[in-house]
C-alpha cells in the first residue's frame, strides 16, 4: 500500500476529490474501485407504507481512537491479501439525512481484481469490526426519537466468508 488515508469526519466528501487525490502524479494505476454508502429512506424491514420503518436521518457515533485503529488494521489486512496502491476510507459521523453520503472506500491498484476485492473486503470488515454505531431516526430527525440499528447477520456472514477464502499473495 503506497498511501492510506483514514478520515472520520462530520462534513461531506467529494468522490471526485478523493479519486483525483489518489490519481495525482501516479502513472501505475490501472483500476480504481470505489464504494459510497448512502442514507436510504427505507430500512431493511420496511416498505413505504409502514411509517415506523421510514428513515428521515441517521445518527452515527464512533469511539475516537479505537475506530481509526480498527480502520487502519482493516486496510492493512486488505493490503496483505491484494497488491494495493492507494486506499482511502472516509466515514462520516453525527446527523445524516436521507440521501446523504455516509461512507466512502476507494482502492487503487494495477488491476481490477485487487481493487474490487479489497474495496468489498474493507466495506465488509468496516461493517463488523469498526467501532461505529448507527441510530435510525424516523420522525423529525431529533436525536432521541429513533432506534439503534441492530447488527445484521448478513454482515457477519460476509465477513466470515473472507476469513474462509483468505489467500495470501
Amino acid at each position: 500500500m503506497r498511501s492510506l488515508k483514514i478520515s472520520i469526519q462530520q462534513q461531506d466528501f467529494s468522490i471526485d476529490d478523493e479519486c483525483a487525490a489518489m490519481r495525482a502524479g501516479h502513472k501505475d494505476i490501472g483500476a480504481l474501485a470505489t464504494f459510497t454508502g448512502l442514507v436510504r429512506e427505507l430500512d431493511d424491514m420496511g416498505t413505504a407504507s409502514s411509517a415506523r420503518q421510514s428513515v428521515s436521518s441517521l445518527y452515527l457515533e464512533h469511539y475516537p481512537g479505537m475506530t481509526e485503529k480498527n480502520l487502519q488494521e482493516i486496510a492493512e489486512e486488505a493490503d496483505q491479501r491484494w497488491p494495493l496502491l492507494d486506499v482511502v476510507i472516509i466515514h462520516r459521523i453525527g446527523e445524516l439525512k436521507v440521501s446523504e453520503q455516509i461512507v466512502f472506500v476507494g482502492v487503487s491498484s494495477m488491476h481490477r481484481e485487487a481493487a474490487f476485492a479489497a474495496c468489498a473486503f474493507i466495506m465488509d470488515y468496516l461493517k463488523t469490526k469498526a467501532a461505529f454505531w448507527k441510530k435510525s431516526n424516523s420522525g423529525e430527525g431529533k436525536e432521541n426519537d429513533g432506534h439503534w440499528v441492530e447488527a445484521k447477520k448478513s454482515d457477519t456472514k460476509a465477513t466470515e466468508k473472507w476469513a474462509e477464502t483468505k489467500q495470501k499473495r
Binding site: 469511539y63 479505537m66 461493517k127 469490526k129 432521541n144 439503534w148
Partner: protein
C-alpha cells in the same frame, strides 16, 4: 483509576458516556470491574452489562470479560457495531 466509556445504546440507557473508577486490588478482570460497576450503580448497569451481546474493549482493543484490567487502563462497553 480506570476510564470507562459507554457507547451508543448503552450510553443512552445509562445516561453516561464515561466515568473514572478507582480499582480495588482484587478487581483485576473486566468481569470483576463489571460487578463493581453494578454494585456501585445498581440495576441499570446490571441490565446492560449482563447482556450477552455487550462487547468490551481494553485500551481500544477488543477484549473479553476474562481480560485483565489494571488502573490506568481504558475500558469501553458497547453493543455490536453497525457502521457503514
Amino acid at each position: 483509576m480506570v476510564t470507562v466509556h459507554y457507547f451508543a445504546s448503552i450510553r443512552e440507557k445509562l445516561g453516561l458516556s464515561s466515568e473514572q473508577v478507582e480499582l480495588p486490588t482484587q478487581v483485576d478482570t473486566v468481569d470483576a470491574l463489571a460487578a463493581l460497576l453494578i454494585e456501585q450503580h445498581g440495576s441499570a448497569w446490571e441490565s446492560v452489562l449482563k447482556k450477552s451481546s455487550v462487547l468490551v474493549a481494553v485500551n481500544q482493543s477488543v477484549a473479553s470479560f476474562t481480560s485483565s484490567v489494571t488502573n490506568e487502563d481504558e475500558i469501553a462497553f458497547f453493543p455490536p457495531v453497525t457502521g457503514g
